[in-house]
Structure formats: structure tokens, C-alpha cells
């Protein structure tokens, strides 16, 4: 497989139609509750999973926006709401000024070709009975697009774009490795020349050495075709590498959003601090530096019954009564850069350097470390 990717479109031509920075996608107060059914003999709704609970975000044309968080934080649901694979409970999604939050199939059809999705699992997201040519040509067929030179020619071009051999046109997905399948998924997403691609954990199912290939491919596509990306992942380092702006989610809410450097170097929200300090990092020679060490206790609480007020308060070391009573708004704090918003009553210092004392919330860890520290 070659890593040299030739793109069928000149970058200038692709970006020309769009003035830079136009707001492509705007989401406000987006909420999705999934009903929880229970009871016997008649099932009725006994509660709801508050998967996404009132988030606001905006994605500009050509930019790459990262959404990061732990499992169950609602990042994938957000992606599926934006592509309108799910219908929001409330709130609005507008794409280029058009409200699509409750649009029907017919109204969505033109928008759908402009918002495409790349899925996590390259094994289950490709139809095993279709050839690669049919899979990649499918979106064009459905939308009745006949590119000059025919669909087959365009499919071959796309295969070349994503670094696959165009002669593999008639092969089936099972003949490809995981990384190659993900490339097929990328080619399918590119088939309709979308303006926005929602990539939901596009590399987390791949081996480390293959991940980098796919990340580089996505980056090339993003830059050279001027496509905006909503990049959803749990791996903080990959999100940092790929996205210019990053939002951190926790239990259905965005707790912090801002420019890449601002979030990763000068985070304000305690959860962002904890998340960054938990990333296992390889430290190369000359890079050893003291990072802060924060170890939270327990797991993320259930989104069926989220904590009142600030949702992070049950695991936070700074929580006070105010945190339980009042939900912190997502605002610009003094000392943060423009556009760096944080939802916290008691924000942290904007640094990730080591503190005087580690924060260890986990009782077992604290007990063991206490024994180890005790002078013999």
C-alpha cells in the first residue's frame, strides 16, 4: 500500500467556494434523552438516559473540531445527532443556517450528502456482500450523481485518493485488512464531496502502526479538500494532533472548549486536568518534566441519574455546596484565552505542571501510598 496520496482536486479549487471561517454547523441546547423502559406486565418509561444534555457548539468551514471524553459522555450520540441518524429531544442543529433538528427525510436529503460520517468499526460498517466499487459508488447512485467520465471512474479516483489500488474495485471487504477497510470507509465518505465529515472514533479499532496511516490520510483529506471535521475520539493525544479546537465532554455536557493549545497547556476545568494527567505518556530523552498527578476515585456516574448541579462534583476534589446546588455555566473565565470557555465554579490554575502534592482521590491508592510513604 502506498502512502503517497494523490488528490483528485486541487486544494485551491476546493476551498474557493467557501469564505474561510463561515459557520457551517451550529448546535445550541442540543439534548437527547433515551427512554428507559421497565415495569411488569405493561412496560412503561421509568426514566431516561440523559446522553446529551444541552450542548452548544459551532463548527466552521474547513476546520477540524475535536470532541473528547470518556465512554458514556455522549460524544458519539452528539455525532449521530448532527448527522441526524438520531432525532434530538430538544435543541437545535442548524447547517448553513438551515434548521435540520427535526427535518424529515425529504428535507434532509440534500443536507445528508454534505454531512458524511466515518464509523469506528471498519468490519461492521461495510456491507460484506457488496464489492468495494458498489460501496463507494452507492452514495452517488442514491443521490443520482453522474460525474463526468462515469461513476466507476470517480470511484477509481477515490480509491487512489485514499491510497488504495484502483484495481481493487471489484474486491469484497473481507479481502482487505482493517486499515484498508477504514480507507474504504473514508473513500465512501468522500464520494459526495461533503463539506463536513463526522468521524466517530475512526482509528480506535486499528493497530498502532495502522492508526498513524489513517490519521495522516484524514489530515491530508481535511487540509487539501478543505473539509470540516468533527473528530470524535477518546484518545487525547490523537484529538490534539488532529483538531484545532477541542471540546471536552463529561456526562452529556461540554465542560470545557477552546483552542487546542489552550485546552492542553492551560486547562481550567478540574476534569480536563484529571484527564490530561491520566494519559500514559512516553517521555523521550530530554523531555522528562514533572506533570501533575491526579487520580480520581471510581468511574463515571450513570447518566440515568446524573449528579445535580455540576456533574463532575462527585469525583472532584474542589467540590463545595455551591457545586451541588448550582450548575456552572459554560463561560469565558478571566485569565483564559478568547474562545476558551469553562463550566466550573472553582476553576484550576491554567497550568499542567506538577503541584506540591499529588491529588489522589482513590481510597485504595491513597491507603497504599500512605503505607509506602510512612517512614520505616
Amino acid at each position: 500500500m502506498s502512502n503517497d496520496i494523490s488528490l483528485s482536486k486541487a486544494p485551491a479549487e476546493a476551498a474557493a467556494g467557501e469564505p474561510a471561517g463561515e459557520t457551517l454547523l451550529e448546535v445550541s441546547g442540543l439534548t437527547k434523552y433515551f427512554p428507559v423502559m421497565g415495569g411488569f406486565p405493561i412496560k412503561r418509561q421509568v426514566g431516561s438516559v440523559q446522553a446529551v444534555d444541552g450542548i452548544d457548539l459551532a463548527v466552521h468551514a474547513g476546520e477540524s473540531f475535536g470532541l473528547v471524553g470518556e465512554s458514556g459522555c455522549g460524544k458519539s450520540t452528539t455525532g449521530r445527532l448532527i448527522t441526524r441518524l438520531l432525532e434530538p429531544t430538544s435543541g437545535s442543529i442548524s447547517y448553513r443556517g438551515q434548521d435540520i433538528s427535526h427535518a424529515n427525510r425529504k428535507q434532509l436529503a440534500p443536507v445528508r450528502s454534505e454531512i458524511q460520517m466515518i464509523f469506528q468499526d471498519p468490519y461492521s460498517s461495510l456491507n460484506p456482500r457488496q464489492t468495494v466499487g458498489t460501496i463507494i459508488g452507492g452514495p452517488m447512485e442514491i443521490n443520482g450523481i453522474n460525474p463526468p467520465g462515469g461513476r466507476d471512474k470517480r470511484v477509481r479516483e477515490l480509491l487512489e485518493t485514499v491510497g488504495l489500488n484502483p484495481e481493487h474495485f471489484n474486491r469484497f471487504p473481507h479481502e482487505f485488512s482493517g486499515g484498508q477497510r477504514q480507507r474504504i470507509g473514508v473513500a465512501r465518505a468522500l464520494a459526495l464531496e461533503p463539506k463536513l465529515i463526522v468521524a466517530d472514533e475512526p482509528v480506535s479499532a486499528l493497530d498502532v502502526s495502522i492508526q498513524a496511516q489513517v490519521v495522516n490520510l484524514l489530515q491530508k483529506v481535511q487540509r487539501e479538500l478543505g473539509i470540516a471535521f468533527l473528530f470524535i475520539a477518546h484518545d487525547l493525544a490523537i484529538v490534539r494532533h488532529f483538531s484545532e479546537r477541542v471540546a471536552v465532554m463529561y456526562l452529556g455536557k461540554i465542560v470545557e472548549v477552546g483552542d487546542r493549545d489552550s485546552i492542553y497547556q492551560r486547562p481550567r476545568h478540574p476534569y480536563t486536568h484529571a484527564l490530561l494527567s491520566a494519559v500514559p505518556e512516553v517521555e523521550l530523552e530530554g523531555e522528562e518534566r514533572e506533570r501533575e498527578r491526579i487520580r480520581l476515585a471510581g468511574d463515571v456516574p450513570s447518566p440515568i441519574n446524573p449528579p445535580s448541579g455540576c456533574r463532575f462534583r462527585t469525583r472532584c476534589w474542589k467540590a463545595q455546596d455551591k457545586c451541588a446546588a448550582e450548575e456552572p455555566p459554560l463561560i469565558q473565565l478571566g485569565g483564559s484565552e478568547d474562545g476558551h470557555l469553562t463550566a466550573c465554579h472553582f476553576p484550576e490554575e491554567p497550568t499542567i505542571a506538577a503541584r506540591g502534592e499529588d491529588i489522589v482521590m482513590d481510597p485504595a491508592l491513597a491507603a497504599l501510598e500512605d503505607i509506602a510513604d510512612r517512614p520505616v
Binding site: M1, S2, N3, E70, S71, S177, G179, Q180, D207, V208, S209, I210, Q211, A212, Q213, V215, N216, Q219, H234, L236, A237, I238, R240, H241, R260, Y264, A274, L275, L276, S277, A278, V279, P280, E281, V282, E283, L284, E285, E287, R295, L296, A297, G298, D299, V300, D362, P363, A364, L365, A367, L368, E369, I371, A372
Partner: protein, 353 residues
């Protein structure tokens, strides 16, 4: 209640010879498509109280090696050759009875997926107590007390109540803690952790890794930590072994391996991972191609089809001759030591920035 420490071992200084020694291990599976050479001539040593990290991609043979150490492979389809010596006892070809006596007592394992590794039918407490009752011959009541003690050690809140819960009532992180409790219940000398944190969230992963590290200090077990994430092992392990296509390609202490990696595959692994400190304008340097099929691994050095430095060796040596991994620090590569050093410093290191 029993005491947690083993005073007789604390008194004896660590024996200089390896506690676990694997020599020229070959593991082959017969499948319909042919013979899979899952492990192909692997040797390593592990001292008491040390942690060995084994790094490799899927299909590199890292899990199979450790299942073989525990004797958990299917004897009908698996052919094992070589030596596995645990504390002076030969394990290859040992009877099932012998292995049964060792498993859960002297050696234990933590699996990746705690939901499938724990039985849904028994309470967590009963599963933790089982090896203790079996190997120590204590009563069920004592076993239960021990289970509660262990649950408390690994940080399960309200252990007296949670001991009677079933695995599905635990969250992912708590289940992994319960598995650690189960593995440590008999104070094993050898603990094998196969991707213990891969299924967990990053904040929980950090808790579990620190817990393993702290518990190791208390219990003095030797740990083999299997993972695909260099970041995880570099924070936890003392020594590292990098595996590729069933063979060890590089070995050394964590410091040596991260600061002066010698094998092109290790360079590739380091270059493919974005890090929190790396330069975002610099594209990643992936390893081209895909891992080979173990049905017919490439001749010579298994990495040569993906390696960018075969020209430096020249003469087609890479595709003809299999490089040998020296004992101790070293790498299985035909490049000379001088070449390895200069290539790393001149081409690889600047790109990692």
C-alpha cells in the same frame, strides 16, 4: 484473618538467577489453512519483584506466549516446544495436575475483558475466594473473609456488602479491580496482566495502573504486563520486550528502549503515536503496510517488507537471513550498532519532537 505479607520471602534477598525463564519457545497452532507460527523462538527472563512489559500489535504472539506459560492453550491443536522454567520447575510438558496446583496460587492472570472473564453465575466474593479455598484448604467462611479483605485492598467501597454482588452489578473499573483481587488472593509470585486496562477509560486506567504498581510493592510479585500501548508500559514496567510476528525484536530497560531504541519497528511504533507534547504540525510517521500473516511469515527478518532501512544493510541479507536477538540489551536487526545509533539520532529523533 491471614496476614498479607510473606516474611520468609522478605528475608531472603532476590535470587540472582531468573525467577521465570523462557527459552526458545515455539508455539504452533494447526488450523484449516495451515500451521500458524504464533510464537517463534522466544526467550526472556524475569526476576522476582520486577515488571516486564511486552509490547506488540495484535497477532504478534504476546498473548499466546503468556497463555502458554499458564498452560491455558488447547493441547490438541497446539504444539509447544522450548523451555518454560518457573522457580526451578519446568512447565512445558508438565501435567495438568501440576499446572492446576500452580495456577491461581503461584501464578495468576488478569484478563482484558473483565465481563467475560468473570462468571455471571457466581457472586464476586465467591469467585475471589475460590482459588484461596482450593489452594490453602481453608473453609468457605475464611475464604469469604479473605475476599472481603482483598476487595478492600483494591478499593471497592463497602466491601462487606459488595462481596455478595454479581459481576454485572459492578462497573467496568470495579470489575477490573475485582479481577486484580482474584489474581492476588493467594499472593502469587508471578502475575500476568494481559491488556488489563485496554477496555477502560483513561482516568480509570490511571487508577488501575497505579494500583497494580502499589500492590506489587506490597506483594512483591513479578508482573508481566502485555499491552500495545508504549505509554502504559513506559510508566509501569522495568524492562521491555518488543514483539513482532511471534519473535522478540528488541529488549532492554524502559529507559534504554525509549531513549535509544534500536530496532526499526520500535522506531515505527514511537513515530506512529501522537503524544501530548509532540509537535502538531509534524505529520505522524506511520509504518507502511500491514503486519504479516503468521501462516507464511516473510523469510529472513519478518519486518523487512515494512522496513525503510534494508538498503543500509544491503546484499539482500534482510530477506535471507534471520537476525538474532542477543541476550540482555539489544535488538534483532542486521544494522550495525553504529548505524542504529546514527539513524536514530539523525532521522528518527527529530521527527518525534
Amino acid at each position: 484473618m491471614t496476614t498479607m505479607t510473606k516474611p520468609e520471602e522478605d528475608a531472603v534477598p532476590a535470587a540472582p538467577e531468573a525467577f521465570l525463564s523462557v527459552r526458545d519457545l515455539y508455539v504452533r497452532f494447526s488450523t484449516e489453512d495451515g500451521i500458524v507460527k504464533a510464537v517463534d523462538g522466544l526467550s526472556f527472563d524475569l526476576e522476582r519483584g520486577k515488571t516486564l512489559g511486552i509490547v506488540g500489535e495484535s497477532g504478534s504472539g504476546k498473548s499466546v506466549t503468556n497463555l502458554t506459560v499458564l498452560g491455558l492453550h488447547n493441547p490438541r491443536t497446539t504444539e509447544v516446544a522450548g523451555e518454560i522454567v518457573l522457580d526451578g520447575q519446568e512447565l512445558t510438558g508438565a501435567s495438568n495436575r501440576t499446572l492446576e496446583r500452580l495456577r491461581g496460587d503461584k501464578m495468576a492472570m488478569i484478563f482484558q475483558d473483565s465481563l467475560t472473564a468473570l462468571s455471571p453465575y457466581y457472586t464476586v466474593g465467591r469467585q475471589i475466594a475460590e482459588p484461596y479455598v482450593k489452594h490453602r484448604g481453608v473453609s468457605k467462611r475464611e475464604g469469604r473473609a479473605r475476599a472481603i479483605e482483598m476487595l478492600e485492598k483494591v478499593g471497592i467501597p463497602q466491601p462487606k456488602l459488595r462481596v455478595d454482588d454479581y459481576p454485572h452489578q459492578f462497573s467496568g473499573g470495579m470489575r477490573q479491580r475485582a479481577m486484580i483481587a482474584m489474581a492476588l488472593v493467594c499472593n502469587p509470585d508471578l502475575l500476568i496482566a494481559d491488556e488489563p486496562t485496554t477496555a477502560l477509560d483513561v482516568t480509570v486506567q490511571a487508577q488501575i495502573l497505579d494500583l497494580l504498581k502499589d500492590l506489587q510493592q506490597e506483594f512483591g510479585s513479578a508482573i508481566i504486563l502485555i499491552t500495545h500501548d508504549l505509554g502504559v508500559v513506559s510508566n509501569v514496567a522495568d524492562d521491555l520486550l518488543v514483539m513482532y510476528a511471534g519473535k522478540a525484536v528488541e529488549r532492554g530497560s524502559v529507559r534504554e528502549l525509549i531513549h535509544e531504541p534500536q530496532h526499526p519497528y520500535t522506531w515505527g511504533l514511537l513515530g506512529s503515536m501522537p503524544r501530548l507534547m509532540s509537535d502538531v504540525t509534524e505529520p505522524l510517521t506511520p509504518i507502511p503496510g500491514a503486519p504479516p500473516s503468521l501462516l507464511s511469515p516473510p523469510p529472513g527478518c519478518a519486518f523487512h517488507p515494512r522496513c525503510g532501512f534494508t538498503d543500509l544493510v544491503g546484499g539482500g541479507r534482510c530477506s535471507a537471513e534471520r537476525p538474532v536477538l542477543p541476550d540482555g540489551r539489544g535488538s534483532a536487526c542486521h544494522l550495525t550498532d553504529e548505524q542504529k545509533r546514527s539513524v536514530f539520532i539523525e532521522t528518527i529523533q527529530p521527527r518525534l519532537g
